[in-house]
Amino acid sequence: MSDTEETIEDLPLGTLPLDAWHRAQGARMVPFAGYEMPIQYAGPFGGIVAEHEWTRTSAGLFDVSHMGQLLLSGPDLDAVVEAVLPIDLSTLKLGSQRYSLLLDENGGVLDDLMVSRWPQHLYLVVNGATKWDDIGHLREYLPDEITLNHLEDRALLALQGPKAADALARHATGEYPLSALTFMKFGQFRLAGHDVTIARAGYTGEDGFEISLSGDAAEEIATLLCGEPEVKPIGLGARDSLRLEAGLPLYGHDLSPETSPIEAGLVFGINKRRRTEGGYPGAERINREIVDGTARKWVGLKLDGRMPAREGAEVFSGDEKIGVVTSGGFSPSLGYPIAVAYVASAHAAEGTALEIEVRNKRLPATVVPMPFVPHRYYRGSK
């Protein structure tokens, strides 16, 4: 037996604030984005499928401290950031966050990220594996007067699932109740005596929160939250299966400099004003693609049978190769394999019957709408 997917790591691995805590919870640690990270936990509720199902039905605590937390400030901040990101900051209000994209001059994706409006600052959360390149890119493209503060001593925890709000509300106090936060809003709160920033967002498709906190407070708060009956720690394995079901792209797999955000269906990441005005890297190509369409599209595929198709598997229509899988696996919630792939736009319509080649076999697959599992974000009391 041997894993066919090898992890290549040529740098010494970093240690995150919760390293010892994860090990004490029975985590299996693996190299990820330059750190040792928990892929799954031991025990009767451990393992990717159990952790996945726990998050979908209760609440899971994810350590995502490998991600980069950046704070930007300086003169004409909005204008200079708009020169780097296709975001419309005139409509980003204090207390709101928005999805955006770091693009190269050709419109290829360098990273996807969250931008939050803080008083006097913009706060960015970027992917762990790309954070050093992102910092270099931002330093190069932003004027010297802009201060870029990499909050390396901060930890980031995500509490995700239908019972996340109940569990967190028992401990979070602030100017207003946690329930006042709706999807993609954030605020300052106190948690176990610590000042934390809580955003109502996540990467699972469920209601949930992302908590930015001092690394020194991470163990205490992780222990506190996992002491709630609804909450268990969840590893990277389930994080990946949850985000795939939610149809959320993973940078480095579904997005790369070789893909444009329009191909990936991320047109919402190009804010409306910017689609006509341009003025961001790659605008010419992207704005043209918004009008004319793209030659290929990122689609969801439902596979027949039980054999999954993985990243790199080729997609066929008859004898013609028309695409490639960028992520795929067995969906614990749905009980069948799902995949996402870039396919020629002529074959991207929902219901199109295609085949995926896995180990010289052709697996029947059908183009289906995404998300595979409906999002359940909290957008206000019903």
Binding site: M1, I48, V49, H52, R306, P308, G329, P332, P337
Partner: protein, 123 residues
């Protein structure tokens, strides 16, 4: 009947000229939740150390190698319905296939239970 182990975490039970092959408890623990097992067709000629089967967990596909050379005589149909048998009973009900024993000398160099246990502890 004697059981041997490979350093790729397969086990092989040898009974006369026939053998049964599966993956070890250590292997299933490492793989996590198994969702699909692709077994060789009956009649396939396997080479020692060559690809014999593929185990799909939620996260990845892993190859299973033939511990020895021989012909596949039977595969475990129960794994089609319930691939999780490999997790719950890896060294009994979750067996993969039965094969002929082409060359008994190939068993030399495989580990016994005690050696395999020590091998796993060294990992």
């Amino acid at each position: 009947m004697a059981r041997y182990f490979t350093d790729e975490h397969e086990w092989i039970d040898v009974d006369g000229d026939n053998a049964t092959v599966g993956i070890t408890d250590y292997a299933q623990e490492q793989l996590g939740d198994i969702v699909f097992v692709e077994l060789p067709a009956t009649g396939t000629m396997l080479d020692k150390g060559g690809d014999a089967a593929v185990v799909e967990s939620v996260k990845a596909a892993s190859d299973v190698y033939a511990p020895i050379s021989g012909e596949v005589m039977e595969t475990n149909a129960a794994l089609e319905e319930d691939p999780a048998l490999v997790n719950t009973s890896p060294e009994e009900d979750g067996w993969f296939f039965k094969m002929t024993l082409g060359d008994k000398s190939e068993l030399e160099g495989l580990m016994d239970a005690k050696a395999y246990k020590a091998f796993c502890e060294s990992l």
